[in-house]
Amino acid sequence: MLDIRPLTEFFESEMTEGFLELLLKMMRLTFQFDEKFRRNIEGFKGRYLFRSRDGQLTVSTVFANGEMEVGEDLIDAPNITITFKDDKALMGFLLAPRPDILGAVLRQDVVLKGNLNYLYKFAYMAKRLQLMATCQA
């Protein structure tokens, strides 16, 4: 079983700095070690681009051939681009117990461009990971 303690601590702390990197890293690891979780990406093709609003951070995530690749370059033809104000906004958007999606969209804390269904799937996986990390799943 994978040790997901870092993520657990993260979810239980107030810290949000570096949230995205950690989330993607843990997600990738979990896919490698947890067969059940891996079923989420079997046969799934999806290209995600995460960008911070200030342009400092660009992270791409590509799902293909049952694997998840994380990169730091711009990728072509993402299914969805998620531009977020800061890590806190992104974390709140994806994982808060009662996410203020309306507020985030209105304040443009998180701007989505592309196919929202890909975001829904990603949010499901992130949520799942969170539940696993906090031992609710």
Partner: protein, 824 residues
Amino acid sequence: MATITLPDIELSDCNLDTMPMLAKLRTQVMGSRAEVCVERARHITTYLRDLADPNEPQILRYAKAVRCFLSNKAPRFFDGNLLAGTTTSKRFGAPVYPELTGLTIWPELDTMSTREKNPQKLTPEEAEELNLRIFPYWMDRSVLEVTRHRFGNTEAMDLMARIVFFIGSKAGTISHTVPWYRVAMEQGLDWIIAQAAAKEHVLRAQNRSENADAIAFYQAVQEALTGLITYAANLGRFAALLAASESDEDRKKQLQIMADVCGQVPAGAARNFREAINALWLLQVGIHAESINMAMSPGRLDQVLYPWYRRDIDGGNLTVKEALELVGCLWLKLNDNTNLVPETAEELFGGSGTVPAVTLGGIDCDGEDAVNDLTYVMLRATELLKTRDPSVNARYHRGKNRREYVRRVAEVVANTKAVPAFYNDLVAIRTLENQGVATEHARDYAIIGCVELAASGRSYDASSSIILNLVSALELALFGGKRPVTGDDQIGPATGDPSTFTAFEDFWRAFETQLAWVIGRAIELNEQMGHVHQDVMPTPFLSSLFQGPMDKGKDLIFGGALYNSSGATHVGFADTVDSLNAIEQAIFVDRTCTFGELLDALKTDFQNAEKLHAYLVFKTPKFGTDHPAAARNAQRLVDFLYATYQSHTNYRGGKYRPAFWTMTNHAGQGKLAGALPNGRKAHRVFASGITPASQAAGDLAACLHSVGSLDYRHIPGGVAFNLKYPALEGDEDLDRFVGAIDGYFQAGGLHIQFNLMSYETLIDAKARPEAYPDLLVRVSGYSAYFRDLNEAMKDEIITRTAYSLREGQAVAFPVDHRDLLPFD
């Protein structure tokens, strides 16, 4: 014209004590909690993904998918209801329609069973199935995504994504319509299938390539309807099986009857009232196999079912009480499903039912009094059951309907505290005629969903196509194309800084420019999604129950109906009108402040502008007070919207129809808007529907007169006018209640509906929801249980002006709760 033969139109002998079966069913229905049902999504997805022939036309593939679902649909008998058939595989199910917005619940699959507000239960196995097998197929195939793929990420789409301008409902629904079930019940589906087969045969024999679409349509009709026949046969067999092992003699007998009923209908003609009413219910189930469960309205049931009722009663084969039990069973069946709602949507739509609207009374196609014994049976069922659905609407023709009828409807309102809603036949019919509907068809109108008008089974109105926020256009005009809630982005056209305007007309022009721009985007997106619906979600099942498609060989979605239109409803009417009044009065008449000062006050939510705020609230003209300036601006806005929408023709060849009903959007959108010139503070709710702003119109007569005096020919989509009285007690109150409706209709009003509750009751119900589990309220068109509504919506219903029927004046709002008021 039907004569009334009931000795007692109130049917006071029939109640829940003398009909324990209904009492028990009602308790079960009220106690059941929503469960997500994946059955339809499973079969439709499996068929389209694994079994469909990619070379067949989409309409045929989709019809076969519907047939596949119906043929495999599990026969279920959850309770002692006398009608066979269920919308979903759960007792109270929320079906998933992945073609539309079903995928929005994806992030919540693991949590929606336990969420605080209106949880919807989902088993881990079914969550897994949605996650791994169903949703992935639809990621690039849902209506919105196909639209994006075909038309690109347009400005209109971006605007919709921002939530606070308009909602293009076609991403999530289209149907909103009233079919005509009579033919299917009189002749049977086998007959319709034979008709379709014959037409297909004739067209094939012609051997012309341009017939391909029509041939596919007739084939699709046969496929889809056959699915329902199979489902009914399965139900019948299962009922017989259950009957064989049932020990309770009564239930055994009922199951045997249901087995017989399903052996006859919907394939064959209904031979008696029970078969007719069960056939109708099965058709309703069939429609939901194809189209989403939103506002599929059965229509004028007191007319549709009357021939069977009359024949059985006259022949001594049915008692009034039995008829009432069957109607009660149908009412409860209409409550067997609900919408799938993700948590975020709770904020905008929480608590709504699926709003199958039933319409009663009024006049018939020949213009004669249509009220019959069955009308009173249905009124009694409504009065006794007090359930959220069906949404019951009473038509009232002041010349033709008798006084005792309208009094009886009023009595039902007094007893349910909320339903039915009233419609003015004279105005509704004139409004439809003005849209080109033939007089005999206009006379046969029925209500769709909340309040929209349809020529039953002849018009396809997609009446909830656009939900547009008027305040967004107002704010864009105030801030030169930006909105405070959306920050510094230039969204609408740059109409200039209002502080440079020298006349009210300048502002009005800016407002019109912004409004026309938002409308243009909303229509553009609606058209695109309409074309996508044509491509991916045709509706042959539904089409076979309309006049037009079967003759033209054309699906409803391609314009097969006799009449076509698209509805656009508007949020924030009174707040927008009052804000326009305030701008005119404060800046250009009284010169109390400059435009710059007003804008500054709005930006700071009236902090340090107490005097100006008081003036705006108390001294500027308000819609609902008979003030001529307010009446003029209200009508001018109505006229502008009418002209703008009617100049657009939709993808089915029909016109756009503006409307003013708001469901819960006025509360949700209000929460997302800044302070307004009428003194409404930032993030407070808007007024609902066409209703004057809460606490702004203190005089009942003036309020009824102003709302009634709008020109409703220019509001063909319908309106919701919500009125609240603290109580209705005794005959004298009832007379005045009817007198108020009469006066309002005489002034020209179209629709009115009531909540009979005091401020105190509602405030208490918010504080102690457990003490009011069944409190039914009218929202802005439909009914809801108060406990299910979100906080903003509760506040809006609480703050609606309550009028004393004895004094004709607003009742003072409780001082301790004034912070709930929009302007305090």
